[in-house]
Amino acid sequence: MNDILAQAAAAPSNGEVKYTLKDFKSDQDVRWCPGCGDYAILAQMQKIMPDLGIPREKVVFISGIGCSSRFPYYMDTYGFHSIHGRAPALATGLKIARPDLSVWVITGDGDGLSIGGNHLIHLMRRNVDLNVLLFNNEIYGLTKGQYSPTSAAGLVTKSTPLGSLDQPFNPLSLVLGAEATFVARTMDRDLPHLNSTLRRAAEHRGTSFIEIYQNCIVFNDGVFEEFTDKSTRPDTSLYLDHGRPMLYGANKEKGIRLNGLKAESISLENGQNSIDDVTVFDEGDRAMAFVLSRMDSAPGLPRAFGVLLQEERPRYEDQLNDQVEEARRRKGNGDLQALLDSGDVWEVGSDAANS
């Protein structure tokens, strides 16, 4: 490794520096629409950064194209605003080359699930240590309001004047089926939850996937209102907590019971059920996560927020480094001259022509 590169990759010169939120604000004007949910997510990100203990120069934000994908410009870290849908692939290359960096992928429901869907699912199975934040506003914001792969069926948009026809993706089900090791959901309007979920993602060793409900005030305003509005939220939103029974409701008076493979909502107030009837959430159980992710399309059931799955699996880049080390152990550090001279080599003498 080149000296400078080694220096860049080595422990940071200013690792001890205590950062504040302001250290992570870049000098660029933030250009989202006033009231856009993106602001809240940016603010939380700038807020948690100082606490992660990662030197600022080791942090990289990589995005595709979309309103949300402008995010990197606003973080005073390294950043790359790439092309539509390709951030997971670009970040994979960066992380493989530079496992020392803390790499964050910012994407949208169009960027990450439409054009970029393939890179996203392959990233999940590879488990490269990246943190993927999918800003889901169920619409294409930047191109001014076409439906996206998460838009509700029937949504009328510029490109679907008579209503969209596609069954939307359930992003959580999708990545669970794609072997993700960390799957979570949070929202722009619940700042503490957003904050803690981002921290959990940062801690996870492997690919973290967070779907963030984000309100697009211009093209899809209020689509998550029932979950984000404080008055309806208690009844529509289930906050998951590992090892705890799945309770919700304003007074935690309701619970989710898994009846075999089916999630049911039970009341703890009608005298028939006690808290023991409520299923204890296990964030290590992929099948449970899948069932909980499917509550989205089941009427009468709340939507799950929090970490649905967290699982340990070797990271791609670690395994690759292990192979490099192992190869070096077995064959020695690569010797170029020896490599070239390998195979069937013959000598032509200076008098070859006469021999």
């Binding site: 080149n2 590169l5 860049a8 070859a352």
Partner: protein
Amino acid sequence: MAQSTVEQLDDVTIRFAGDSGDGMQLTGTQFTHTSAIFGNDISTLPDFPAEIRAPQGTLYGVSSFQLHFGSSEINTPGDAFDVLVAMNAAALKVNLSGLRSGGMVIANAEGFNRKNLRLAGYENNPLEDSTLENYKVFVVDVSRLTARALADSGLSSKEVERTKNFFALGMLYWLYGRPLEPTIRWTAEKFAKAPEIADANVLALKAGWNYGETTEIFHVRYEVEPAKLAPGRYRNISGNLALAFGIVAAGRQSGLDVFLGSYPITPASDILHFLARLKHFGVKTFQAEDEIAAVTSAIGAAFGGALAVTSTSGPGLSLKSEAIGLAVMTELPLIVIDVQRAGPSTGMPTKVEQADLFQALYGRNSEAPVIVLAPATPAECFDIAIEAARLAVRTRTPVFILSDNYVANGTEPWLLPDIETLPQIDPDFAKPGEDFAPYKRDPQTLARPWALPGTPGLEHRIGGLEKEDVSGNVSYDPLNHEKMVRLRAEKIDRLAEELPELKVEGDQDGDVLLVGWGSSYGAIREAMLRQRRIGRRVGHAHLRTLNPLPRNLGDLLQKFDHVIVPELNDGQLVNILRSKYLTPALRLTKIQGLPFREQEIEQKVNEVLSGESHDDKQESAVQSERMNGHE
């Protein structure tokens, strides 16, 4: 012992042809290797079917290997061949047209049985009717003779059958006076774990030799003296392997770790395969989910400070177009290897073509210039890879290497370089504390700084939107945009000032200048040499750098009465030359999935000098019949 006369030859071209399962590639490789050690100059052309395992005996299952060796400079695998070894009827059928009149056919009798004849579509046995009356025909019962030689080997008849190619090889060794030792050594190594197989192969080889020595079937033996090669250590190398080695060498010379993002595709996959084995050099290979991920992962790695490479063939390059534009805009060093194959679309994946030049130069939205290099021969791939890395790092711009199926799979003897003499590459990373702006350029090269994540104080953001000069902020300013577009081009154009001038081989002025690029080098050079022998004043200018063009190219073109540009496409470089220099350069095109034969080039020179040829889009190495809908 047979009494045979010995004839001296300057060069010989042999084509081994048989079923895919007959081991023709191995036979050819062994003959090549032995002849190389013997001291001949050599050029080879393998040719195999697209199918993984085509059914036995069919026409499309024929696999062949052509080699051309000689006592003086060898530039091509040979036009028409002198000897055709045909292991079965299909091999004869497919290849006969390439045998020179009066040439030698060595046929394996067993391969012409009823079933084989039928599969090859022969009504009568061509060994027995008049089909071969213009050739010297030697029918040898290779299968039976091999079986007899190995009667006591204890091997199954299937295993015995598999060694028959070595019997044929032995015969050819005898015929051309080659030593057996190199192949015997190779066999022992290769089958170290199965000595009975090694022994069987050696037995078959010797049996073949002895057959030549003992029987009277061949009346003449041939001698081809060693060539006057520069002294040094040699090995045979294919273009793909040389590229892989070159990349690793560039990693060493730059101190950068190599990252290859790739997706398998014929004929580029071997670059991935070769590099994947070199992890102990710190090489990281990433087989991506598609070509887009392959190139974008490489861009990510480049951003992180790796020597980033992506390799593919034409259809894959199409998919990488958009991302390469991003690399142009973000001005990151990136090596893009395109091993060209015949197209369009899926085309003929195992065949050669040089038709991706326009795609390399122009296959992106808007003005997105890149550097384009093309190796002329397999061995040159090594140097081109290092040069590509040097230029990519120097200019922070993508550099294309336009290889092709011919150079990738062909081989030639390579004078091994002393690695201490390789050029140094300075990545010149931006340093902490430097007066830094992401698009503040080096006054000399116009390169922007390469500031790696992890470097304290150089935090910055890049992306695909137009950048403000110096600051790198997003900018929609009209004049800034024009300036940046021109800067990205100028960075490349300026290179022409520091790159060496183009040297013409052969005459420096006169009748005809042949301008070529890529793997047509050998055929063009040979044509130039032969034309000069018959008194023509012909030069050969071969472009290794297609963008920027050498600064003296315009002057060179002026020095000849005619300029001819042979290309395996419909006329791409020629268009650029005509446009840029307003010179009436003539096209010579061939689009058959095959390399040029030197005669096709000579013929064009003859036509031009006799005034028969005018430039015409229809002009082609092989005039295609008038296209009128085939009524």
